[in-house]
């Protein structure tokens, strides 16, 4: 079975390695230059000084100018990182979808399933070996992308936020395994290569979107952080890499005064105010408003330090889904003639 799998898929493997090499040819030089600039400009040290505390003194963590310079040179590469989000689905459509569907389309399943190897063993061997290949490809890809995007993540929105999270840590490996299992499963169901490939893309995007935008935020309960509006010594650390659900200004009685806003007052003077909620007249001075007496900023968020917890939960979900799909595929396989 190992020889058969190798003989049948060696071309695919070769093309995949060529594709990975081509990707490396882009990723390695740009990545090195990015890492270099990140350290040499002092941006790395500046961000490191801010640490991962949620609140920092006003004079710490102002790496704005350095970050701007860095972004000017490298933010164009962010789109490459986004492109990498879809890599797993390619593994799914080229390794997963044709695995059974092509045999059925060409009738060769009637040849190979009537040799001295049971259908179940054939399936387990092929799924296992291709799964292993997907695991290795996924790991190489995950490691490369993780390394490449580190500086972008550190000076940007952090690793745990939407899309960043998807090309970091171990989740890309789990997505790759899931994509392959999805391809195999749909290949068994549709029994045709092209429909299986098409539905694999659609289903992959669908499942990923639902998990990402609906399920993920509930993996762990969010944390709340209160910062009185009168506290001018501290400010939120924008490099903590947290996943911020909401920021608002809340009165001492617990009533939300401003949503999607931050406020700092010194006496009745506004030190800083930012609002995206638009519930307040432009000229109003909230610091002079009695309702803001004892008010505080409330941030609800997932700390960036929970990155690995989220990674393992997300990976666990996708690996479990992959296992479920393979199981369904095995059951369904018994009914094909």
């Amino acid at each position: 079975m190992i020889w058969l799998t190798w003989r049948q898929h060696r071309k695919q493997l070769l093309y995949t390695l060529i594709a990975l090499a081509a990707a490396a040819a882009v990723i390695v030089p740009t990545g090195l230059s990015m890492h270099h600039a990140f350290v040499n400009s002092g941006l790395a040290a500046c961000i490191a000084k801010a640490g991962d505390a949620q609140l920092v003194a006003g004079n710490v963590g102002d790496c704005g100018e350095l970050a701007r310079q860095f972004q000017q040179s490298y933010n164009g590469l962010t789109f490459l990182g986004i492109l990498m989000v879809i890599f797993p689905v390619f593994v799914g459509i080229f390794f997963g979808a044709p695995l059974v569907a092509q045999e059925i389309e060409r009738g060769t399943h009637r040849f190979v399933w009537t040799q001295g190897v049971s259908r179940l063993r054939w399936a387990l061997a092929k799924f296992g070996l291709i799964g292993l290949v997907a695991l290795v490809i996924g790991a190489i890809y995950a490691y490369g992308v993780d390394w490449w995007t580190q500086p972008l993540m550190a000076q940007g929105q952090g690793r745990i936020n939407y899309l960043s999270f998807d090309i970091q840590g171990v989740a890309p490996v789990a997505y790759t395994l899931f994509a392959v299992a999805l391809g195999v499963f749909l290949g068994v169901f549709t029994r045709k290569v092209l429909p299986a490939m098409g539905i694999t893309v659609a289903a992959f995007i669908g499942v990923r979107a639902v998990i990402e935008y609906v399920a993920r935020r509930h993996y762990l309960g969010p944390v709340s952080l209160k910062l009185p509006v009168s506290n001018t010594a501290l400010q939120y650390n924008q490099y903590a890499g947290d996943w911020i659900y909401s920021t608002s200004v809340v009165s001492a009685q617990g009533k939300t005064l401003l949503s999607s806003a931050q406020l700092q007052c010194q006496g009745t003077n506004v030190i800083s105010m930012s609002s995206t909620g638009g519930t307040m007249a432009v000229n109003a001075n909230p610091c002079a408003d009695a309702a803001y007496n004892g008010a505080y900023n409330l941030q609800v968020y997932q700390p960036g330090t929970r990155f690995w917890d989220f990674q393992w939960i997300e990976s666990g979900i996708f690996v479990a889904l992959a296992a479920l799909l393979i199981w369904f595929a095995l059951v369904r396989l018994r009914r094909i003639s």
Binding site: R7, G107, R110, F111, T114, G116, S118
Partner: protein, 302 residues
């Protein structure tokens, strides 16, 4: 004579959705026979063969190959050689690679035999089989099935897509190979003419039902065409088991009948003629379900 049984089915049925592809299939194929599975397209031939080789799971009844369920595992599969319709092979593999593959997937495998056969037929083993002619590809598929040294060889319309010369060569190779061993063969075709000379056992399928099955000589011996005056039909039929097909003019009746045993005495003005295998198959293909049931009951009684 007690013969071992190669293939046996009892009440075998397979359904796709609500339509039965095969139903109430009860037959027994003794070892050492070359059996023709005949029926029009869609009669259930492929379904029966797929059930026999374990590609399909029956919806009712059971199928046994040398007493074993073909889906029971690789020991059962090891006895069966199978050439599927249109002889599917990995087209980018060379014949040599396919032979190597067979060696890796089967416990007993005679790679030398396969190479020898293909060399004898001047079929290149180093070219991908997708580049071979249809006839050569069928020969490769046959060589692979034979390399397994099966006790039962099943072939699904192996020659349907071949030209007449390739058909002839294929049948010749098959018969030559089988005569060296005691392999039982069951091959299907929608054309009896292809198989008539080679086969000594016949199974006729029509509309998912077995219309007739048995040893060819015995079947021929137990059927006659009776020709005589129409008014004395009743007298002529005394002593026969059933009428399979009747055609009548104003005065004369032509009846293809099944005999219970020896040929009974002929009524006045009647004569009996032997039937050809082709007549017999055509007659049974046009039989309705009622007649079939009667026939089967009779066979069971015997």
């Amino acid at each position: 004579m007690t013969e071992e049984t190669a293939l046996q089915t009892a009440g075998l049925g397979k359904r796709y959705g609500r339509a039965w592809a095969l139903r109430d299939c009860t037959l027994r194929l003794p070892t050492g026979r070359i059996a023709a599975l005949v029926g029009p397209n869609g009669a259930g031939k492929t379904t029966l063969l797929h059930l026999a080789v374990g590609l399909l799971r029956p919806d009712e009844g059971e199928v046994r190959v040398f007493g074993r369920d073909p889906r029971a595992g690789r020991a059962a599969l090891a006895d069966i050689g199978f050439v599927a319709q249109d002889t599917p092979l990995y087209r980018d593999f060379s014949a040599a690679e396919l032979i190597k593959l067979g060696g890796k997937l089967n416990q007993s495998w005679d790679a030398g035999l396969a190479h020898e056969r293909l060399a004898h037929l001047d079929i290149p083993t180093d070219r991908s089989v997708g580049k071979l002619s249809g006839g050569q590809r069928a020969q490769v598929a046959l060589a692979l099935a034979l390399a397994k040294r099966p006790r039962l060889l099943l072939l699904d319309e192996p020659i349907a897509s071949l030209d007449p010369l390739a058909r002839h060569e294929f049948m010749q190779t098959l018969m030559g190979a089988v005569s060296e061993t005691d392999t039982t063969v069951l091959l299907s075709s929608h054309l009896l003419a292809d198989l008539e000379r080679a086969c000594d056992f016949l199974i006729v399928l029509q509309k998912a039902r077995v219309q007739l099955s048995g040893d060819v000589d015995e079947l021929l011996a137990r059927h006659r065409t009776l020709i005589g005056p129409r008014e004395t039909e009743a007298a002529a039929l005394a002593g026969t088991a059933s009428v399979i097909r009747a055609s009548r003019t104003d005065r004369q009746s032509t009846l293809l009948v099944r005999l219970p045993g020896a040929m009974p005495a002929l009524a006045d003005g009647w004569r009996a003629m032997d039937v050809s295998l082709e007549d017999l198959v055509l007659a049974y293909l046009s039989v309705g379900v009622e007649a079939r049931t009667e026939t089967m009951g009779e066979l069971a009684a015997k």
